[in-house]
Structures are given as structure tokens and as C-alpha cells.
Subunit: 214 residues, 2 copies
DNA sequence: AGTATTTTCGAGTATGCACTCGAAAATGCC
DNA sequence: GGCATTTTCGAGTGCATACTCGAAAATACT
């Protein structure tokens, strides 16, 4: 057995996720939520730039302007902080996602919007691939997230199929997985060479291939 | 400025890449090449399982059955070892790639073949995303590799287009980037849930959408 | 003002990391 | 056997890491 990493779990007696503090409301408490938010924000940036393993408490603490130990008061372990960042990211993208339009408009629009916030994409792409490594704390998060997105897209495609608007011979499940994969794969290329890759245009091309010319 | 990482470059006086030792051929020399190969092999496995940052000289040395310092005799820096691994990977996949068939057969066949060697895919997916982080030693490798693959595919698509075998309205450059992205993105999902994703089938679906039904 | 509570941090622990140094052991040519 | 060279490693360096401990400072409710 090779060395391996320690990363003790630490049980985390309460307030594991982040919301609904128990009951106690004494002392300087109002500032707490704000602090947590700014920490999560800084952690988001650091994990996006460096990845989970290479990102450190120290750097996050530096950015937020407090000591490393002060930070540990809010997030006692690194993986807890990571999960808080990921869930925060969900909130952000859900908030910024009315998606009232059809499948094409919605996806292409979101892809265009993503171009202006590269940090979010970077976090997603880097952590997503990193999470396939052994014992990564974000693994189950990404497994669940991918499954959810795939079923959502598959349902939308089946609905369009019922209207006869999908080109014949398309399998909705496979097309949903392909759509997700295409998006993520293009984003990685875009991160490496933003000039060369037009994520939204490629996605539109693909979706137009899927749908009936009508 | 936050802490940051050291990672001194170290100049590497000679034999930077790996091949063509200078002239000296004395002492126990024949074993050297074999050793290097087994080290690169072990490093390949470790980087695939853990990524570059989380993978360590110590674990690689353990697997190859030698001391960490002994390993450093062959690869004086970690990034040199990484690049050796990546170039070795190129050799492997080029060797196993006759690709005499057409675009579809070739790509789908290679995707199927990849299913039996998950380590190779894992290495590729993990390092590729990791390389988008700041100052990653594999960044330029992946930039170059993506560009090369895209131009290859784009050329093949243009050739098919000249034969009238491509569905009208397809942009070869964007389709090439999409093909690469689709493949990579699907592989990440496959790494997370091998049962749920059929990479080769999805690729075939996409390629059949690109080409004229004929 | 007093006090319970929260927030913050300085100092420390144990560990892992890439990498250095210097020398012993192994090896092959003469 | 002698010798130049290569291969190997033990010991060490300096640094970064996640995380602990205990106490001081800040805060707000009474």
C-alpha cells in the first residue's frame, strides 16, 4: 500500500451544510452569514484557479483577509468548504436561469452568458474531472448532478419528440448525455483557447441537427 | 499576493526529453531504458488515479519498487516525468491506431477500444482539465494536442464535404471542435458512471447526424 | 456594567511534498 | 583485477499542508 493522504473526516458536530443555524443567537452573530458568504466566494475563486488539491486554506484566507485558523472556525474541513462552494454555485446558476424559452434558446443563451463568467466554468470543469480520481469529496456531487441534468434534457427531448419536432432515429437518453458531454468538453477547449472555440455556436449547431428542420 | 507554489524549474542539464542518450555508454547502461519505461508506466497509473498535483514521487517509486531518490536520477523534476508520461501515451495510442477505415469506423472503433483501458482515459481527462489551471506544466501540451486533432478532423470533414457526403450547412471547423469536445465530455461522464454511458454509441449517433444519409 | 457567546488568531503538530547531497553499491569494459 | 561510469539510496532541507489547542478580543443581550 502506498502512502496515501490523511484528510481526517472530523464528524462536524453541527451546521454541516450551511443554512439554518440551530437556535443560539447571541454575541456577534449577524456578521456570521456574511462572513460565510465571502469565504465561499473566495474559495470559489481559488478552487477554480488551482483545483481542489492545489487550492489551500491559506490562499483562501489571504483573499478574504483573515487568518487561516479564523477560516477554520467556519469550515472545519476542506471538503466541507468545497461542498459549500459547489452548492453555492448551484444557487447562482439556478438564480440566473429562468429558461423560459425552448431548449435551444435556453441552452445557447446560458452558454453565451457563461462566457462572461469564466471562473464559474473553470471551477466546474476542473473539479468535475478531478472528482473522477480516487476518494475525491466532490465525486458523488457530480455523479448526482450529471444524472439530474441528463434526465431533465432527456425529458425535454421526449416532449419535443412527441410533437414530432425531433429528427427521426434520435435516442433521447443518448442525445441528453451527448448534449451534456458536448457542452463540458467544449468548455475545456474554450478554457485553453478562448479565441478558437465558440461554445454557444457549436451547441446551436448540434441542437439544430437534433431537431427537425420544420 | 497569496502564497503560491515553488516548483523550481531546475534547468535539467541534458537528456531533457528521454531519447538519444549523448554518447557515454559505460557501466550498467542497458538496463536504463527499461527502468525508464517502467517508471513512466507507474507514473502513468499514479497520475491517472490521482492527478498531477495529488500524485507523488513517493507513490510512483513505491510502485516501481525503488527509492524516491533513485527515481529522481531518471527524472529530476516532476513536470519532466509528466511530459514523459504524456509523450509515452501518444506513442501508445499512435501505435494502436491504424485508422484505415473511414472517419466513423475509425472514431467509433477507437472509442470502443478505449473502454478496455480506463487508465489511459482517466489520465487524459484528469490532466486535461487540470492543465487549465494556472501554471500547469501540461498546459501547452494539451493546447497543441487539441489544435492538432481539430485540424485533422476538420480536414477529413472537408474531404467528405467535397464528395458531397456531409449534410449541408455543416461548418467543418466547428464540427471538428464539437467532435473532440463530445468525445472528451462523454468520457468524463463514463468515468463517473460507466454503466450509464455508451461513449462509442453516442459518437456514432453524432457522426451519423453529420453525414448525409445517402 | 456584567456575562454568555461568538469570532479571531498565534503558536504548534504531524505529515507530506519536491528536491539536494554525498556516498555506497552495482556494472561493464580494459 | 582495476577502473570509469551508472545506478541506487539514506539522510536531510525547506517548505506547505490540513488541522488542533487554548486563549484573547469582539460582540450583544440582560
Amino acid at each position: 500500500m502506498p502512502t496515501g493522504r490523511k484528510q481526517t473526516p472530523r464528524q462536524s458536530t453541527e451546521r454541516t451544510t450551511s443554512e439554518h443555524r440551530p437556535v443560539a443567537r447571541r454575541g456577534a452573530g449577524a456578521r456570521s452569514a456574511e462572513r460565510r458568504r465571502s469565504i465561499v466566494e473566495a474559495a470559489h475563486a481559488v478552487f477554480a484557479e488551482r483545483g481542489y488539491h492545489a487550492g489551500s486554506f491559506q490562499e483562501i484566507a489571504d483573499r478574504v483577509g483573515m487568518s487561516q485558523t479564523g477560516l477554520l472556525h467556519y469550515f472545519p474541513t476542506k471538503s466541507e468548504l468545497l461542498l459549500a462552494v459547489l452548492h453555492r454555485r448551484d444557487e447562482i446558476t439556478v438564480d440566473a436561469a429562468p429558461e423560459p424559452e425552448g431548449l435551444i434558446q435556453g441552452i445557447v443563451g446560458r452558454a453565451r452568458a457563461n462566457e462572461s463568467l469564466p471562473g464559474v466554468i473553470e471551477l466546474y470543469s476542473v473539479l468535475c474531472a478531478e472528482s473522477t480520481t480516487e476518494g475525491h469529496p466532490a465525486r458523488s456531487y457530480f455523479v448526482g448532478r450529471f444524472a439530474a441534468i441528463r434526465t431533465t434534457y432527456a425529458a425535454e427531448l421526449r416532449a419535443l419528440q412527441a410533437e414530432g419536432r425531433v429528427r427521426p432515429g434520435i435516442d433521447p437518453e443518448r442525445a441528453a448525455a451527448s448534449l451534456v458531454g458536448l457542452w463540458d468538453g467544449l468548455q475545456v477547449q474554450w478554457l485553453l483557447e478562448p479565441e478558437q472555440i465558440d461554445v454557444a455556436a457549436c451547441l446551436r449547431d448540434y441542437l439544430e441537427l437534433l431537431l427537425e428542420p420544420s
